[in-house]
């Protein structure tokens, strides 16, 4: 076994880029075969390479969410039956609506075109959601936040803490609910809500104050060596840069805006913001303990994610009907498209396995 195959957690960013590649690819197609393949690949890679952090176990929820999206999409098409298409599968009794709701139809004939359109559309959204779920399961989001550039450190820490607090609040809710039956229920819905919410909020508030005190006592937010002038300059760079980006994005999307506001403004904004980042990063005196490394395996993962995205983009320009098959024909897949998607499955076997420490958390007391 070579060193590259030893167990270790990959850089979280690599998994996120890989997943975003799948997201982009899924968003560019409504071909059900391709979308099912994307979902299958995401599931395969998760099954092979997920870590043992709690987020990894949430992937099942994403799968269920995807299924729910498809079902809801199709159900909507049936209930608000669009009249598109002629192949009537079944005719449901139509519910008459008052005249002010003209243009909306409830139930009525269900066409296979409408059902398929709903199915394809739902599959696309489900594919996107499941790809993001895969990123969540493969890379601990907390570690991703921790590898943010130094200038964003404060924001990252705040997010990490927010993410950490959620399970604690869940724990607190569990405890208070158990405690609730130790004394009687107050009368009325308001009283009952208050009975649950007040102790939970008090607990959360106390915890956050203690955490803030603890972090401060351990040196969080030490100002470093920068002068107030430097800090002001950094802030100004960032704000002007962000404004530039906003105007630029608006101009790019709105074709009637003057062209000079579009790409040049966007680039200038990005440049200024970047300068602000670098300047902010330079004054930060913080260091990282054992930062995640960027090794060949990470490059491989990123490349495997980008291949489908780029291929779909190229195919979409050349032959849009391949990625968006009509609802009257049988969807087909060509070899390049198939290969491009299959490449994304490569990390399932080619990357090192994640480091594992299998220990169940201790749970005592009231909860089940």
């Amino acid at each position: 076994m070579t060193a590259a195959r030893l167990q270790r957690d990959l850089h979280p960013l690599a998994w996120w880029v890989w997943a975003l590649g799948l997201v982009v690819a899924a968003s560019m197609t409504t071909n059900p075969l391709v979308l099912l393949l994307v979902v299958a690949i995401a599931s395969l890679v998760v099954a092979q390479r997920h870590g043992d952090h709690p987020w990894a176990r949430a992937f099942r929820l994403y799968l269920l969410l995807g299924l729910a999206i498809v079902v809801i999409r199709v159900a909507f098409r049936i209930v608000l039956g669009g009249a598109d298409g002629t192949t009537v599968l079944v005719t449901l009794p139509e519910i008459p609506l008052p005249s002010w709701a003209a243009g909306i139809r409830l139930l009525g004939p269900v066409t296979s075109e409408a059902v398929l359109a709903g199915l394809y559309d739902g599959l696309r959204l489900a594919g996107i959601v499941i790809a993001i779920g895969a990123a969540n399961a493969l890379a601990n989001p907390k570690r991703l936040l921790r590898s943010l550039p130094p200038a964003l450190y404060e924001v990252g820490s705040a997010l990490v803490v927010a993410v950490t607090v959620l399970p604690q609040i869940a724990d607190s809710v569990r405890r208070v609910r158990a405690a609730r039956q130790l004394r009687g229920e107050p009368a009325g819905r308001w009283g009952r809500l208050r009975r649950l919410v007040v102790p939970v909020l008090e607990d959360a508030l106390e915890r956050s104050m203690r955490l803030a005190a603890g972090m401060d006592a351990r040196g969080y937010g030490r100002s470093g060596t920068s002068t107030p002038q430097q800090r002001r300059a950094t802030g100004l760079l960032m704000i002007v840069g962000m404004l530039g980006i906003c105007v630029g994005v608006y101009a790019v999307l709105d074709q009637t805006a003057p062209r000079v506001l579009a790409l040049p403004m966007l680039l200038a904004g990005c440049g200024l913001a970047l300068a602000g980042f670098v300047s902010a990063g330079r004054r930060v005196q913080r260091t990282r303990y054992r930062p995640d490394r960027w090794a060949p395996a990470e490059v491989l993962v990123v490349a495997c994610g980008l291949v489908p995205a780029v291929t779909f983009w190229a195919v979409g320009r050349a032959d849009p009907s391949l990625l968006h098959p009509g609802v009257n024909e049988v969807p087909a897949v060509t070899l390049p498209v198939l290969l491009a998607v299959l490449v994304a499955a490569f990390p399932a076997g080619a990357t090192p396995r994640p480091a594992t420490i299998q220990v169940q958390p201790l749970r005592v007391g009231a909860g089940r």
Binding site: G184, A217, R290, Q360
Partner: protein, 528 residues
């Protein structure tokens, strides 16, 4: 090395919490801060690293010097490399997920280079015996392990002073000894100054070089423990015994006291042997088994509670004490076995009826409170239990007289809040009362008051079961003791018998005077 000079602190000028305090700490000293609950121990600790007044508000006057330089104007983050602070609840202060990352967090903030960080993390893992836990998720650690990680996470910054606020209050005696031995090693071998506030003086006094006693008026008495404890309002049983016997100098460790006891020239008649219980059996469990996922939390537990008796439930953290209480209360599902409270299975009846049979005060008693004043809580409790108005208040006055009606429950002292919750639980007149770790945060007078209340409940014909780590409290209050280990009952019987069988559960008096004796009160009675 570090010095408080004329420090006063208060939320308003008329009512000072700390009054004109001078305290100098030397390198490698082990100093204990003692005092009654709410007297300002945490406040005194907080002034060293700046959390007071930064996080508490109030006015701090005077000066804090490190090697002669004033640091009082520096915020606590700028003192992180000088003063390491470990709070009461280590779990609440963790920022990261794993042991190693947590140890490195403070150093990252200081901006140390990677090689230094790596070296110090390894050193600290060794020093605190955490090597096997290095990759573990913090939430999977036991209380004692978490406390050691919290200590390690500030040690990596190489502070000169380590400040700990009740580091052992939530730990069983073995885990507490572990943590204290670690602190001792830090003070003696590494030369770090340790300043520690603790209610359970019997645990820390033998280690202390000096003792700081905060008086009720906010003043400070500092000196060798043997001197300060002579007149202190809070003393461990060993000192109470020494005072009673007028031993000079006051013994502070069990070893010293045992030597004095051997040559103590008085004629003591041993206390009567424990009587077998004669009361009516109220709770009876047979072969109770409860699962946590796939693990057995309780397996085959047989337990009998008798009317008119206080039973103590002991065992290390995670041994299933809380689970057993919730199972007896009826809301925890059993997978096998039977529970009968007066012949009725509490799991099979509605919560409202359950409350009239079994009352439970949970570990975080404040979970039961949700209103703004004590009077509102009492009124709500009467209404919920369909009792005439004033019942709960009457109970509260019996348990802890003199709590003002308009006080917010969160502003009560630990002992008063516990009394309020107990009164609420008792309003529905349960025959069985269960308490989960009620002594946490109580000082000696507070514990004595709780012991009186529980004895009184038993005298009214109730069966009381109290889960606790506190051996001294058990010696005071319990008629019988049940010891759980790994979800099984390993020992059960009259208190004197059980605690003499297990050295870890023996109170100080019985270590000194022999297995017949449990409390100072028994000795005092035999003397008079």
């Amino acid at each position: 090395m570090i010095e408080l000079r004329g420090v006063s602190f208060g939320y308003d000028a008329a009512d000072l919490v700390l009054r004109d305090i001078d305290l100098g700490l030397e390198d490698g000293e082990f100093v204990v801060v003692a005092g009654r609950t709410g007297v300002g121990k945490s406040t005194l600790l907080g002034t060293f690293n700046g959390l007071v007044p930064q996080f508490t508000g109030g006015t701090l006057t005077g000066d804090i010097l490190v090697d002669g330089r004033s640091i009082i104007d520096r915020p606590s983050r700028e003192r992180a490399h000088l003063v390491g602070y470990v709070g009461q609840d280590p779990d609440a202060g963790f920022v990261t997920d794993s042991v190693e990352e947590e140890l490195a967090y403070g150093m990252e903030q200081l901006g140390l280079d990677a090689a230094t960080m790596r070296r110090r993390v390894e050193e600290t893992l060794d020093l605190l015996g955490l090597v096997d836990l290095r990759d573990r998720d913090l939430s999977t650690l036991s209380g004692g392990q978490q406390q050691r990680v919290a200590i390690g996470s500030v040690l990596t910054m190489h502070p000169r002073l380590l400040v700990l606020d009740e580091p052992t209050s939530a730990l069983d005696s073995t885990a507490a000894e572990d943590v204290l031995a670690t602190l001792m090693r830090l003070a003696h071998d590494v030369g770090i100054t340790v300043l520690i506030a603790e209610h359970r003086l019997e645990r820390v006094v033998p280690f202390a070089d000096r003792l700081c006693l905060i008086e009720d008026d906010g003043g400070l008495t500092v000196g060798p423990p043997g001197q300060v404890l002579r007149h202190a309002p809070v003393v461990p049983p060993i000192v109470a015994l020494g005072r009673l016997a007028a031993w000079e100098p006051l013994p502070l460790s069990v070893r010293e006291a045992r030597r004095r006891a051997r040559t103590w020239d008085v004629d003591l008649k041993a206390p009567p042997p424990p009587v077998t219980s004669t009361g009516r059996t109220v709770v009876e469990t047979r072969d109770v088994t409860v699962a946590h996922g796939r693990r057995a939390a309780l397996s085959g537990v047989d337990l009998t509670l008798v009317a008119g008796e206080v039973t103590a439930l002991m065992g290390r953290n995670g041994s299933g004490k809380s689970t057993l209480l919730w199972t007896l209360q009826g809301s925890r599902t059993r997978i096998a076995g039977s529970v009968a409270v007066d012949g009725v299975d509490p799991a099979g009846i509605a919560p409202a009826e359950r409350r009239t049979r079994v009352g439970l005060v949970p570990q975080t008693a404040a979970d039961l409170l949700y209103l703004e004043t004590v009077a509102q809580e009492c009124a709500a409790s009467d209404e919920e239990s369909e009792k005439p108005r004033g019942d709960c208040r009457t109970l509260l006055d019996q348990l802890a007289p003199g709590i003002p009606d308009d006080r917010h429950p969160r502003d009560l002292s630990e002992g008063q809040r516990l009394a309020l919750v107990l009164a609420i639980v008792l309003t529905s007149e349960p025959e069985v009362v269960l308490l989960d770790e009620p002594t946490r945060g109580l000082d000696y007078p507070g514990k004595a008051a709780l012991a009186r209340a529980l004895t009184q409940l038993a005298a009214q014909g109730r069966a009381v079961l109290v889960a606790t780590h506190d051996v001294e409290f058990v010696a005071e209050v319990a008629d019988r003791v049940v010891v759980l280990a790994n979800g099984e009952v390993v020992s059960s019987g009259p208190t004197a018998l059980v605690v003499s069988e297990t050295p870890a559960f023996a109170p100080q008096v019985s270590k000194i005077m022999g297995p017949d004796w449990l409390t100072v009160a028994q000795v005092a009675e035999a003397l008079s």
